[in-house]
């Protein structure tokens, strides 16, 4: 088991139609019946249409969309809280859609853990007893599960709160309990359904940092749902943008910001602080340069951080180097400033 590398999540040709006779309309939808037509003619709602996403193991996949875009429906297909109308959901190579009830329960107990927008803690249990919930369901002996739970509570900064009830905690702290409960399961897949949407902006940023720090150690395959683009750009190794049940763009933060697929996405990214998203290699002039006397920055540094380096060094140009130290190109303050204000548009 320890040797086995987790195979990631693959979603293929996934469709979800809501309505009493969903199966009957799937062929028509595959042949191009639109969401509006399906609703007007048959009174069925097209929740998800032809979703194809590959989520590599150990990365954070953000699924972004506004309310009604189908993002919460999509995440519930990964642990099959919602049954699809057609398609495959492969988690570590196994199709979740074809699992029998008992098999599905085992899968949920050991392969996935979930964090919810409204926390969904048990109000009659203390923080500690909430954290062991998943382990208790797995059938782990109580003493062992308590040790695991205590470790995770400490890791999310809730030491000393074990005996409190959820109602005695603030929203941010309740969600820390939700996170600890999910992490205690030690499942390779972590599903986070708008986990931070109910929190205050400051606490949200705080929790994002907690997640990013944790991810450096745990390397889970995290699926993170959000309607907040800043959150998506900050957390996502990969981002998929959903609209009306369809994926309209997939890619890294940079792809989304620099090359929006359509006006809808462009409109979204308009207000984004590009300096924190765009990496320096995307704006540099590639080629060999003489590096003497100029400050160097590594690839992957953001435009904002590069500017910070240049202004500290009082330089007009910087040299971009790869992690192995090889020179890749040169970047000017003008290029950096241009990238920040989106001069192209």
């Amino acid at each position: 088991m320890a040797e086995h590398a987790f195979g990631g999540i693959k979603i293929r040709n996934l469709y979800k139609i809501f309505g009493p006779n969903a199966g009957a309309h799937i062929e028509a939808v595959k042949n191009g019946l639109t969401k509006a037509e399906l609703n007007a003619r048959y009174g069925h709602v097209l929740g998800l249409s032809d979703i194809n996403i590959e989520m590599p193991s150990g990365s954070i996949q953000v699924i972004m969309g506004l309310s009604g875009s189908g993002k919460s429906t999509l995440i519930r297909h990964i642990n099959r809280l919602i049954d699809p109308t057609a398609g495959e959901v492969l988690v570590d190579g196994v199709d979740v859609v074809t699992m029998q009830e008992a098999e599905l329960r085992e899968f949920r107990r050991h392969q996935t853990a979930m964090v919810f927008q409204k926390f969904a803690l048990l109000p009659h249990r203390t923080v500690l007893d909430n954290t062991i919930f998943g382990l208790e369901i797995q059938g782990m002996p109580r003493q062992k599960s308590l040790d695991t739970a205590m470790r995770w509570l400490e890791r999310v900064g809730l030491r000393g709160f074990e005996e409190k009830y959820p109602n005695q905690l603030s929203g941010g702290m309740q969600q820390r309990v939700g996170l600890a409960r999910a992490l205690a399961n030690d499942a390779p897949v972590l599903l986070m359904d708008e986990a931070y949407s109910a929190l205050d902006p400051l606490i949200r940023t705080d929790m994002q940092t907690v997640l990013l720090d944790l991810q450096k150690e745990i390397r889970k395959t995290i699926v993170f749902i959000t309607h907040d683009l800043d959150e998506a750009l900050r957390l996502g190794d990969q981002i998929a943008i959903l609209r009306d049940g369809e994926v309209i763009q997939q890619g890294t933060s940079q792809d989304i910001v620099l090359r929006p697929a359509d006006d809808y996405v462009a409109n979204f990214v308009k207000e984004v602080n590009r300096g924190r998203v765009v990496h320096v290699e995307a704006v540099m002039t590639p080629g060999a340069v003489q590096a003497s006397g100029k400050p160097t920055v590594m690839t992957g540094t953001t435009v904002e951080d590069t500017l910070r380096v240049l202004s500290r060094e009082v330089a007009d140009e910087g040299v971009v180097v790869s992690s192995s130290g090889e020179t890749l190109g040169v970047v000017t303050v003008r290029q950096l400033a241009g990238a920040m204000v989106n001069a192209a548009r």
């Binding site: 050991h110 009659h124 109602n167 905690l169």
Partner: protein, 301 residues
């Protein structure tokens, strides 16, 4: 009706022909009587464990010296409520009841109510759980509960007495039929009101039906279920006088005697004793229910 002026049917409801109606009633009566004759003993045998339970409980309440019973009741009251005020109230009630020479009847009534409550919980909670799980079950059980609650209790005393005669067990059954509906309904309601988000979380962590029931649904429904137990106790107490008509001993019998002979004081005293223990049970069970959901009250502020 054809012989009148032709409009009789309009002024007088055209009912079933008198002879057929009489035959129908007779047939049903005979049928039931036949059923009673052939199966009465078997049914009585079926209920005999109940009789043993009742007798044992009553013997315990009556044979145990009164100071011990008093201490026992006060201990239970304090353990459930952690309130000295309620415990003192119970003490005062018991002392007054005893001083006015109603101790034995009160013990019989409390024993009866205890057995009735245990029985109602044992039957009512499983039925409530089944109802909460299946809408079809709810559709079937709900009208039955409606009938049980609205049918005048004297009416179902008749078949119970025909089947089991006069005594403790038929009285108990009549009381349970009257008192169990709130138990069932509130169990069903409590489980149905459990937060869908929490249930979804339980599903997401792979809980099976049993784990969901015992770790999520029942604990979260418990305050509502406690309200059901409270209602059941209150309704059982309300049945005490009616049950005494078919031979249930306790505070009901003096009241019945008082009605028959117009003994005003006897009626008032025993009536007040019933009120006294009703208030005792109510305060204790409510305070216990409230204590169960203490975690809901302390809110982050």
């Amino acid at each position: 009706m054809e012989k009148g002026n032709g409009m009789d049917w309009f002024f007088k409801f055209p009912h079933m022909d008198d002879n057929s109606l009489r035959d129908l009633k007779k047939a049903i009566d005979d049928g039931f009587r036949g059923f009673t004759r052939s199966y009465g003993d078997i049914i009585e045998g079926f209920f005999s464990p109940l009789q043993h339970f009742l007798i044992a409980s009553e013997r315990f309440m009556l044979k145990t010296p009164w100071p011990i019973i008093t201490l026992l009741i006060l201990a239970i009251a304090y353990a459930a409520t952690r309130s000295l005020r309620i415990t003192a109230g119970c003490l005062a009630t018991l002392m007054i009841i005893g001083y006015f020479d109603m101790w034995d009847d009160t013990m019989r009534t409390i024993s009866m109510i205890f057995v009735c409550t245990v029985l109602s919980i044992a039957i009512g909670i499983p039925i409530g759980i089944l109802m909460a799980r299946s809408d079809r079950m709810q559709r079937v059980v709900n009208p039955v509960l409606d009938v049980m609650q609205t049918m005048p209790s004297f009416v179902y005393l008749i078949p119970v007495v025909m089947l089991l005669g006069i005594g403790k067990v038929p009285g108990l059954i009549a009381v349970v039929i009257y008192a169990i509906p709130p138990m069932i309904r509130l169990t069903d309601l409590g489980i149905r009101l459990v937060d869908k988000d929490v249930l979804e979380a339980a599903d997401a962590f792979g809980a099976d039906n049993r784990q969901k029931l015992f770790k999520v649904q029942l604990p979260l429904a418990l305050p509502t279920i406690m309200a059901g137990i409270n209602q059941t106790i209150m309704m059982a107490l309300a049945m005490v006088v009616i049950a005494s008509m078919i031979g249930v001993q306790g505070l009901g019998q003096p009241v019945l005697k008082a009605i028959a002979n117009q003994y005003f004081t006897l009626g008032i005293f025993n009536g007040l004793a019933i009120v006294g223990i009703a208030i005792m049970f109510d305060r204790v069970s409510q305070a216990y229910g409230k204590r169960l959901q203490k975690h809901r009250e302390i809110v982050h502020g």
